[in-house]
Symmetry: D2
Subunit: 135 residues, 4 copies
């Protein structure tokens, strides 16, 4: 890996100061991030919003990519496709598990399975593309 979990966590905290998403693990070709769920993330009826799931997918992809190519601040998401599969429960963190599918010189592609912590069936699935700036 080109960056340690701590380096990536520090970078995410600096670049995305609003996010409450936490880096749990960075492995070769992938990463896991976790977002706590509290009153601020819930809609009436106790639903986790779709955009929050998309945000977790985006961070998971970015963390995995930074692990693979190092701290490259200018990498940007170019495409994100999300399928929403199940209503997440209101009382569990959202876990995003990213697996990189391709890391090229100019582009990277990865997929993310999103879970309610401790539950086996994914609540959403995302595929995202990153453009990597010339170095």
């Amino acid at each position: 890996m080109k960056a340690t979990q701590q380096e990536i966590a520090d970078f995410i905290a600096a670049e995305f100061p609003q996010t409450r998403c936490v880096v749990r693990e960075v492995v070769p070709g992938g990463a896991t991030v976790v977002h706590p769920i509290g009153p601020d993330e819930l809609r009436p009826g106790g639903t986790v919003s779709g955009p929050l799931l998309m945000a977790v997918a985006d961070v998971a992809l970015y963390v995995a990519l930074l692990g693979a190519i190092g701290i490259v601040p200018l990498a940007v998401t170019t495409n994100l496709t999300v399928n929403f599969l199940r209503k997440p429960p209101a009382d569990r963190s959202i876990v995003g598990v990213c697996r990189l599918i391709k890391v090229g010189r100019r582009q990277a592609v990865g997929e993310v399975s999103l879970y309610a912590e401790g539950k086996p069936d994914p609540v959403a699935h995302a595929v995202g593309t990153y453009a990597i700036p010339p170095r």
Copy 2:
């Protein structure tokens, strides 16, 4: 239309109490929403985050759909695909203009062009699918 702009705005405010997204217009087959941008929505360097753009797209689609089918609380996004096109400026609201492509009994599909207020070129484009519950 099956719901007025005011009815839809009230419903969005109740269902998505965290969102700062405002309903600007609802027309047959479409809708426009606006999200103000301030320090809370910006990343270091003055970048509007991708997830915020996705959230605006999601609300624009939902508002347009409510205009077409009436206030149906259980309609849920099933798929959202976003292409990020340009870095939005830091000092302009994000405007989401939705056009519904199909409104069927069980499923609706729409596209959203996202702009920085007052700028002609879109900063992102989204296509989303909603599942409509049996009535």
Copy 3:
């Protein structure tokens, strides 16, 4: 435009010798292509196959892009998202109408509405991304 309709039609015929897709119109920022439907394109029951619709979308995007940037053989599709909306009738050509959303130096994005010739409601909608090689 950077290439004429005839130049683009000749190029498509040379590059995609198997396709029966015909270039109908190239305009600034867009293009229309048409694919005839006969027994070879139909499944039992008279259904136009999904992959045929995707192929028409892909050609429509490519034709529009060539109109915008000139004959660039190495431009390649990097992402295509298709929503299938209605069963196309068995006896009408498929028309693909592409509108370019962004044409940048490295990447182009466009959307395509697919119709059964003469019918107002689209049978499918696609959004595609092209990578443009450095020149």
Copy 4:
């Protein structure tokens, strides 16, 4: 599984008489299909076309779904998103490996990795959604 590999192969051959795609394996929650590549599938320069890759992805998803829910002729693709990753070589079959992500009552979602036979890195990746008719 709700249908055997032979039942599914027979059904695919009847429903998609034009396809040369062959069912190689059906397992719980997934399937593998293979499409031979010859002159008819190649563009000048020896490129496998994008639509062929999309067609293989579509068949792989359908085969996996039929394995999971039985022979349901009216299941239809509603959304397909494909990321093209690498130029496939001209002399190898295309293999589509599908893994179902969710099989619900009304909707199924799966992902497909597409390979050139014998090569480890995928040439494309697809995510697709199927609508399942009420039974």
